[in-house]
């Protein structure tokens, strides 16, 4: 992958995360940097959880098949 492609992909991901965080901030009705970062962290966590599950399943299947 070229550098420009990495940059484009990263911009899209950051915009996506900002959108999701702002949606929660708007629905909560109050804003602070601490709340913003907390929500951003939680969204990232929710994103990582399925990936972690898939990785664990992959490792388990590979170990079992060996």
């Amino acid at each position: 992958m070229k550098k420009a492609e990495w940059v484009t992909a990263t911009i899209f991901i950051v915009i996506g995360l900002m959108c999701l965080t702002m949606v929660i901030i708007i629905s909560l009705g109050h804003y602070s940097t601490f709340v913003f970062l907390g929500i951003l962290f939680q969204i990232c966590l929710w994103f990582v959880i399925p990936l972690l599950i898939l990785i664990i399943m992959y490792i388990a299947i590979k170990t079992y098949s060996k």
Binding site: M1, E5, W6, T8, A9, T10, I11, F12, I13, V14, I15, G16, L17, M18, C19, L20, M22, V23, I26, S27, F47
Partner: protein
């Protein structure tokens, strides 16, 4: 910009799939929220209208309508009450005045005890949910109570939720686009690499190697491309070598023939004996040329699959004995020991007699040709379901380095051997292919300056045409 690209197609498909899932999901979430909010309002309103209906029924004789009228004037709740004829008797609602009449159909439904539900939108954008409950006393229909609940708040909340869902979907879409971009590039990269490498191979750059990193089907495909390139490279080198060998093999006898025929034509010889010597050379070289062309023809027919085998049941020991007798004088000429051992029972195999004879003549003549002293022995052994023809000699032998290549076309252990011992360099190549065509195998063991052992194995057959 080239749109016909695998990464674009892959990315587009993933994005389209994501959108196809996102839209219905958004709709479902919206409907869940709408249902939840409206159900709460409906349940509350119906509960209040039922309570009012029960209150009126239990206090009907005590001038409840007058009390209700007073209550309606003071109450925050919007309500109106109709009597058993459908006339409005109590109301604090602007659009329904005392004395108005509800529709006959609505009245009929109320008499059946059915709860009436309406959404009323006033001109000032005030929207109400209306629930009407029937008033029954000893199964007698007395009228109905209508309760109105404003639902602008619910509609505004739903509008806000709709907007939030849209932005959440937009955020998810951007996130998906970002990851799809990386994923499509990463997934399509090996295919693009393969395409580029294959194009380079197709242009003749056969030394190109593909870096295979995965062990899945893509990795297997990459390895197959590498193998194919290797095969092509070997084939190209083989072909070039083959043409070079043919030119060399044809040119050498032709040079002899041309040279000596000129000597004869210009009468450059000194005696008749010398003349005969030159004629012999021309004759030998012509024979050599004929044999070479015949071998080439055989080989090309075998390789193209155009050779027709007339397969019959043959007593292989009888056939080998015939070859033994035909070649005996050559061994005797060289003063070699020459023996044949055959089994008592005739071993039958299914094969082409002429081609089998060609195989054994070639192998036995080779053994005699490359043995200067000692002996050549032939042994026929039947073992389980096969017959083995073992040809052993005490000749010059073949080194371990040369042994794997001796079945290759024009391969010679030493270039000088071809002049000394003759042969086209195609004999063993033809023999191997003929043996394999008749379901046999051939193996060679050899040690330099000790001797060579050739073992030809064929499956045994019965007269009934079955393999044993």
């Amino acid at each position: 910009m080239n749109l016909n690209r695998i990464d674009l197609k892959l990315g587009g498909t993933i994005t389209a799939l994501f959108l196809a899932l996102l839209f219905p999901l958004g709709f479902v979430i919206h409907e869940i929220f709408s249902g939840f909010y409206f159900n709460t309002v409906e349940e509350n309103t119906q509960q209040i209208s039922s309570q009012y209906a029960s209150l009126i029924a239990s206090n009907h004789d005590k001038g409840i309508f007058e009390v209700l009228n007073l209550m309606a004037a003071l109450s925050q709740n919007l309500l109106y009450v109709v009597d058993d004829s459908g006339n409005v008797v109590v109301s604090n609602v602007k659009y329904t005045q005392v004395g108005d009449k509800i529709s006959t159909e609505e009245l009929a439904n109320l008499k059946k005890g059915l709860i009436q539900e309406n959404i009323y939108d006033e001109t000032h954008h005030k929207t109400y949910y209306i629930s009407g409950s029937s008033i029954f006393l000893d199964n007698k229909f007395l009228g109905a109570v209508y309760i109105l609940t404003p639902i602008e708040g619910v509609i505004a909340s739903l509008e806000k939720i709709r907007r939030l869902i849209f932005f959440a979907a937009l955020g998810s879409f951007f996130l998906a686009i970002g990851f799809t971009l990386i994923l499509s590039k990463k997934l399509s990269y090996p295919l693009i690499q393969m395409e580029q490498v294959t194009r380079r191979i197709a242009k003749g750059n056969l030394d190109t190697k593909l870096q295979v990193s995965s062990k899945d089907e893509i990795g297997s495909l990459g390895e197959a491309i590498n193998d194919l390139a290797e095969d092509l490279r070997r084939y190209r080198n083989g072909r070039n070598e083959f043409f070079a060998n043919i030119s060399h093999e044809l040119r050498t006898p032709l040079t002899y023939i041309k040279g000596y025929s000129r000597v004869l034509k210009e009468e450059l010889y000194k005696s008749n004996e010398e003349k005969n010597q030159y004629l012999n050379i021309i004759d030998n070289e012509t024979t050599r040329l004929t044999n070479l062309i015949s071998d080439l023809s055989d080989l090309s027919m075998i390789e193209e699959g155009k050779i027709n085998l007339n397969n019959v049941f043959i007593d292989v020991s009888e056939l080998v004995e015939e070859v033994y007798l035909k070649t005996k004088f050559r061994a005797q000429e060289k003063g070699l020991g020459y023996t044949l051992e055959k089994p008592s029972e005739p071993p039958l195999i299914l094969g082409d007699e002429l081609r089998l004879e060609q195989i054994f003549i070639n192998l036995i003549e080779n053994a005699i040709r490359y043995t200067d002293s000692g002996k050549v022995s032939i042994e026929i052994v039947t073992k389980q379901k096969v017959v083995k023809i073992v040809i052993m000699d005490t000749g010059v032998g073949i080194s371990a380095e040369d042994l794997p290549f001796i079945f290759e076309r024009f391969y010679r252990v030493e270039k000088s051997r071809s002049r000394k011992y003759g042969g086209s360099g195609l004999g063993l190549s033809i023999v191997k292919r003929l043996v394999e065509l008749q379901n046999g195998t051939i193996t060679i063991k050899s040690k330099l300056n000790v001797g060579t052992t050739v073992v030809v194995t064929f499956p045994l057959s019965t007269k009934e045409g079955e393999r044993m």
